[in-house]
């Protein structure tokens, strides 16, 4: 009898993941590993068993596993277990293989994939007519400016290449305008959100005030606190599966500029709505936001209508990929 119970329980255990995906899909399915690819068809698993469309079948099985309630509750339990030690131990205690890692007390950082010194930027060039118009806002990685939040090893062996590359690139042509966030963020304040890899209100406004200093150079601007706000912690929630309530000071810039300059911001995630609210931006600029894309630099005419064009990019992606946009 015991053997039969054991046998039944084992078979149940082995098959329950897929079945729980089919019959008990999770309300909030986490996909911190892969997003399941859809190829536009939506047939039932039973229809696919004898189908020759093997890719669809494999995707369907993946979907059932990723959306399985059992898998998602398992992940939640494991995430909570690991987080309970994360804030107490001076080491990253995460269980999942994700693209983030934790420093001291659970401060979250994104992993980078390369760390290479580049000293030859001879191919980097900007059309001279745009030199006064283009502004490069390359945002450092959180770990580059938050050394105190890193563990000893992370700090000791951290990547120094991006800062080096940034300084080399700046020295290539002094007419090209760069916002040097490395020097602006070089103090004891926190410029990034705790559970996220993006800037907080202070980081955002510090960058913005520097932008205003360039675009409206005749005016002077100051930064002041304006209550508190709940940090996003979006990355921690998406990849660490932990939802935190962290509050930070909210900042604002005053005064408003006399003339709102027309700005085109070619951006990645730092200028997403949740990290830089559009309404707030529009108090200081007449702004258009476009995401990075291959077609951007193919037509220079799009820049003509603007007073300034800001290229915002996370520094690692800029040196890994986007710098190619500006090479001869």
């Amino acid at each position: 009898m015991l053997k039969k119970i054991y046998l039944s329980a084992t078979i149940f255990l082995l098959s329950s993941v897929t079945f729980s995906g089919i019959y008990f899909p999770a309300k909030n399915s986490y996909s911190y590993i892969n997003s399941v690819k859809s190829i536009g068809e939506n047939r039932d698993l039973t229809d696919l068993i004898f189908s020759t469309n093997r890719e669809e079948l494999k995707n369907k099985i993946d979907t059932y596993i990723f959306e399985s309630a059992l898998r998602n509750s398992t992940l939640k339990v494991i995430a909570n277990l690991s987080w309970s030690t994360q804030t107490k131990l001076p080491i990253d205690t995460q269980i999942f293989n994700t693209e983030i890692y934790y420093g001291k007390s659970g401060s979250l950082f994104s992993k980078f994939n390369s760390c290479i010194d580049i000293s030859n930027f001879n191919n980097f060039s900007i059309n001279s007519k745009f030199k006064n118009k283009f502004i490069f806002m390359l945002v450092p990685l959180k770990q580059e400016v938050s050394g105190s939040e890193l563990t000893f090893l992370q700090n000791k062996f951290g990547c120094k290449a991006y800062k080096y590359n940034f300084n080399e690139l700046r020295s290539k042509d002094e007419e090209i305008q760069f916002i040097n966030l490395y020097s602006l963020y070089d103090n004891e304040f926190k410029y990034f959100e705790f559970g996220d890899t993006h800037w907080n209100s202070l980081g955002f406004n510090t960058a913005l005030i520097e932008l205003l200093n360039i675009t409206n150079s005749t005016q002077s601007f100051t930064l002041s606190t304006d209550g508190t706000y709940k940090e996003n912690n979006k990355v921690l929630k998406r990849l660490g599966l932990i939802d935190l309530d962290t509050y930070s000071n909210e900042y604002k810039i005053s005064p408003k500029p006399d003339i709102k300059k027309k700005l085109l911001i070619i951006h990645d995630s730092f200028f997403n709505e949740e990290y830089s609210p559009n309404n707030y931006l529009s108090e200081y600029f007449k702004v258009d936001l476009i995401r990075w894309g291959n077609e951007l630099l193919s037509s220079e005419s799009i820049y003509e209508d603007y007073d300034f064009v800001v290229f915002e990019s996370s520094i690692d992606i800029f040196f890994d990929e986007r710098i190619l946009f500006f090479e001869d």
């Binding site: 046998l7 084992t10 590993i33 093997r54 080491i91 293989n97 890692y101 994939n113 090893l153």
Partner: protein
Amino acid sequence: MINFFNINKKIKTIFLGLVSGYFYFIDNGYLIAILIFLSILMKYQIKNNNINNFIFITLLLSPLFIFKYSFILFDLFEIEIPSIIENNFPIGLSFFTFQAIAYYFDKNREKNRESSFEIFTFLTFFPQLLAGPIVDISTYRKGIRNINFNYEYFSNGIYRLAIGLIKKFLIADTLSQITSIYINNNVEFTFSFLSSFLLIFSYTFQIYFDFSAYCDIAIGIGLLFGFKLPENFNKPYISNSFQEFWRRWHITLSSFFKNFVYIPLGGNRTTKLKNFRNLWITFFLTALWHGATLNFIVWGFVHGFFLTFEKIIGYKKYFSNRYITFLLISFSWVPFFSNSFEDTINIISSIFVLNFYEDNFLPIVVQYLNFKFFIVLIFCLLSFVTSLNLIQLKKNIYFNFALLTIAIFIVLSSSIDPFIYFKF
């Protein structure tokens, strides 16, 4: 499910043949035709015996040659590689081709008279089809006749399955985070002692845990179906010499080459010089079995060299050292995983570079050195003393059941990296 097999062995054969064929079809599509071709060809030859042995073996090896080695000829004659060859690789090709050869030379096949479908079931037998262990037909015959539910097999099967899943998803995949920084990044890395050390030893343990995990899973599933598949690993990193290593590592492949290449060439019952020649031919073929690239040839050369060296100096007297052997074997994996010969030299020579300030691999690796990595480190050290088969506990059903539950939890919280040996 298992009581279902109590009916008779024919039903078991049909069930396993269809299921195995279907699994292969899901992943490889119409390349399953290769397995059907080998099965029919084998039955035809056994029945009629009118193809010369050399031609027949050449025919058996032809899919392997076409999909694995023909690119050399295409490159040589500067002909474009046909897309069916370039874009497809039948998973487990080397494994089932060798099983087919072993079957052809089996002494008892006349007596047993397997049908084409039975040969097909043997070649496609799903638990071990993709990456071994290489099974001989006698193991299969015993398994297919084993139609009564065997509680011990079942309990051990669950245990091996759980151990395999833990080895793969907890240990090998954690180590793969370090090695894949190098393997998947097309970047010229500068290494120092520290990063080179981490890369080499991460791969050393990754390949062991990855491959032995697959074998554990295969053996575990085999046991659930009443098959006792052969062991493929026996604590290889405690070997005192390269000779001993090859008795403990990928045991079924070593046996295959020993029985079908080394011994027919004369083995060691010949002059010393011919013995060395036999050894080098065997290792050249072992290297080629993994792939026809310079990296694998270098890897085979290194092993051939140390085996010859051990024989010349009489390793038992002067060379028998577990730690030196482990270090040399770890270094010998470098050509196995490196992206080029230059990289092999770069990684090994960096062991002598103490300046880690110019190291651009270490800053990336440091991001992965978390708590889980240190747990994995403990498992790596444990692998020197045990093969993780906790014999005293594996008969305890509660323990096995708990272990399987933990293993499933680990799988559910993991990303999925393919097994290293699938590509062979």
